[in-house]
Amino acid sequence: MLNTVKNIGQKEKIKLFLEQRKPIIEDWKHTYYLWKSTPLAMIGTVIIFIFLTIAIFAPLLTSYSPTEQFMEERLLSPSSQHIFGTDQYGRDIFSRVVYGARVEVWIIFIVSIISVMIGIIVGITAGYFGGAVDEILMRITDMFLAFPRLILAMVLTAVLGPNLTNTMIAISLVDWTVYARLGRAEAMKVKSQPYIEAIRAVGAKDLRIIAFHVLPMSISPVIVQLTLRMGTIILTAAGLGFLGLGAQPPTPEWGAIVSDGRNYLVNQWWISTFPGMAIAFVVLGFNLLGDGIRDILDPRLRR
């Protein structure tokens, strides 16, 4: 068997490979087609792309530091020098917004990792083992779900001490329930498959089954859900920042910048307006993308 594969040429290998993967490739092609024909998803993707580009190339986009103060240049209105104006410390709002993109990306990244990890572990454990374990874990999940999200996050950050790290921890501790439910459903589905029974019969341990069979199946719905939730993560972080319970100065977190500027709203509208627009813009991007993904995954469209 191995020999035959070895003997065939590179081209054939690729061909064979493509042949085997044909359904998957077809599926991807189809997805690509749907994505292309969903203008909203495309706009969303473009927005997210711009957002990531800004985050990556922040230092190239602006010559001002996001934190250094120039008390001589405080509260300047938007001009060619400072296209978004300056704040009460003479910092360039544009560069704060641009560097803020990095903060937001970081928040999304960390929150996603922590919350997915907790969620998956709890969810799969509950779904796979079922019974009392399931009952207990799900009741715990319910307890976390019994709080309105922002309020729980608020209490957590306030108690942990408001700063960026704790904000991320708090949001993760609020957000994991979504993935737990998904993971549980997925685990229950996989568990009831006949082949799992077969694998168990040949002596596979639970941990092994979870790691090699249940986990991979749970990943893709979780990833989809994650994309849908990224907008919410930003909004929650910004809400905490606005209440002074999130990232602390001089961290250029967008919500915190809006909050910084709110006392200047009447006379210096630009301080709050631009970072607020940045939040709306990026969340819009995630929502459009999420909507698109929902549409693309809609089995009725996939027929």
Partner: protein, 521 residues
């Protein structure tokens, strides 16, 4: 289609009729003050200890004497007591009440009411109690009424200025014992009831406190100095400064209490609104932990004092609403003489750092709380310190957490403020220079016995000249060795509609004496 049109018309009419209601201006005999009433806890003079509620309590309860501002100095003038004298031992004080005084409800006000009120403060043991018990050394037995018009108290021999300012302080407001006893629940001496009711003899009665909405005061027609001109005072809860600004500009409120400096400046020169200012009764400081690493070295502390850009903070952060005052005594206090040795001098600071062996600087954590102003100050200080190589990070804490850590001597640098408890030098020299009272000096681990001894001596010195000189010596010594860089003394400011007259007189004494009887429209 017609049906739709009809519906739209109704909607538009409704909307317009709603909007008509929004243009209400305040009545002529009413004063509406917009403020963040978050810190309002009670209107009980024996419990209240914050500036804003005190400002209301001062207008509800009359006191034996009043501490007012004259020629920018605090002086004591007669109140319910028309005269007083102190025995030669400097401890026994006798106050003579006016005849025919009545409470707002018409009950006669006699000496027993004063005694009851003072003893009540001591019994309640609430926030302001220590001013009586610790500073004046009063006990329940040391307060007495030999007859209906005489009140006698025996102190620990505190200087006369201290005693009189205390008797003129909010906690000395006189309550009607009959009413209070009527509303006593479980021996609380009327605490619960007095939160939102009043039983005083001041110019106003507390009509209503609708929590987080408004506090309403109504004129007391029986006030001994005559009923005030403004009949209704409403303290409207408006937590956001921006909202206060908007409402003030529109005339929905007459006075805005919590404007930002920036907003106040934007109002200057406007047609309808002026800015009223008065020196604030507080200090803004940068405190260094003299027991921590580099700050053990007095030269490092001096370097920090030379690194701070005082002018930038005053001009830019406070946009001029601050006085360059580098001592703990606020302007206008006994013992105050302008004395500001520090200014930003990076070279000098660097030299001092090098002499102390920290030419390359060090890492330090600045802690402050989450209010807008402190945040800004901390950020400026952080920048300033960076110039002499001190790499500072800012850690914003909620006030509660910050003070908890501070009380455990657990901070490296703190940016904070100290509000004056009573208008005497003593109220500041102790916290800032005497570590034995376990306040600021102790929290900054500045265990300096010379300063502590001098502070204690000054607080017992009855001779005014000698006392004055002691404060000069203390200030000079403290400037060199102390762990504090004093950023400024804030200037308190209000946005006030031009229809409101004499508000500057009313607010001149700010936290010590806030007198709405002066105001008219």
């Amino acid at each position: 289609m017609l049906k739709k049109m009809y519906l739209w018309t109704i909607l538009i009419v409704l909307f317009l009729s709603l909007t008509c209601l929004t243009n209400a201006t305040t009545p002529k005999d009413a004063l509406v003050i917009g403020a963040n009433t978050e810190i309002f806890i009670t209107n009980d003079p024996g419990v209240s200890f914050e500036v804003l509620p005190n400002a209301m309590v001062q207008n509800i309860y009359a006191k034996l004497v009043s501490v007012v501002v004259k020629d920018k100095q605090f002086i004591t003038v007669p109140g319910l007591a028309e005269s007083w004298e102190v025995a030669p031992d400097g401890k026994t004080w006798t106050f003579h009440l006016r005849k025919g005084l009545v409470f707002a409800d018409g009950d006669p006000l006699k000496a027993d009411a004063v005694v009851y009120s003072f003893q009540r403060v001591l019994k309640l043991q609430k926030s302001p109690c220590w001013l009586f018990s610790d500073v004046l050394g009063l006990t329940e037995e040391s307060i007495a009424a030999p007859d209906d018009y005489t009140v006698k108290i025996v102190t620990n021999g505190a200087p006369s200025n201290v005693v009189l300012t205390m008797v003129g302080n909010t906690l000395s407001g006189v309550l009607n014992p009959r009413v209070v006893k009527e509303h006593e629940v479980d021996g609380d001496m009327g605490q619960a009831w007095l939160m939102d009711h009043s039983a005083g003899a001041g110019p106003y009665n507390l009509e209503e406190w609708d929590r987080k909405i408004k506090v309403v005061l109504k004129a007391n027609e029986n006030y001994w100095r005559g009923a005030p001109k403004i009949k209704t005072v409403i303290l409207q809860d408006i937590p956001e400064p921006t909202d206060q600004l908007l409402l003030l500009k529109k005339g929905d409120i007459d006075v805005a209490w919590d404007l930002t400096a920036e907003q106040a400046n934007s109002l200057k020169g406007g047609p309808d609104v002026s800015i009223v200012t008065t020196p604030g009764q507080s200090d803004e400081y940068v405190g260094m932990n003299a027991g921590w690493g580099p700050f053990k070295d007095v030269r490092v502390r001096q370097a920090v004092k030379y690194a701070i850009d005082y002018n930038a903070i005053i001009d830019k952060v406070m946009t001029g609403f601050a006085i360059n005052n580098q001592q703990f005594l606020p302007v206008g206090y006994f013992g105050y003489v302008e004395n500001n040795p520090y200014y930003q001098d990076i070279e000098k600071a660097k030299t001092l750092m090098a002499e102390a062996g920290y030419a390359d600087g060090f890492d330090v954590e600045i802690v402050t709380n989450t209010t807008e102003r402190r945040k800004t100050e901390a950020v400026v200080v952080q920048e300033n310190l960076a110039k002499i190589g001190i790499r500072a990070t800012i850690n914003l804490m909620q006030a509660s957490q910050m003070y908890a850590k501070f009380r455990e001597q657990g901070l490296q640098i703190i940016v904070a403020g100290w509000g004056v408890d009573y208008p005497d030098a003593d109220a500041l020299s102790n916290p800032f220079a005497n570590y034995r009272v376990k306040q600021l000096a102790w929290r900054c681990v500045w265990y300096d016995d010379y300063a502590a001894d001098l502070t204690e001596a000054a607080s017992k010195e009855i001779n005014e000249d000698r006392r004055f000189q002691m404060y000069q010596d203390l200030t000079n010594y403290w400037h060199i060795y102390g762990p504090f860089a004093m950023m400024y003394q804030p200037i308190q400011f209000w946005g006030v509609r031009n229809e409101v007259k004499n508000y500057d007189k009313a607010a001149e004494g700010y936290s010590v004496h806030y007198d709405l009887t002066e105001v008219y429209k």
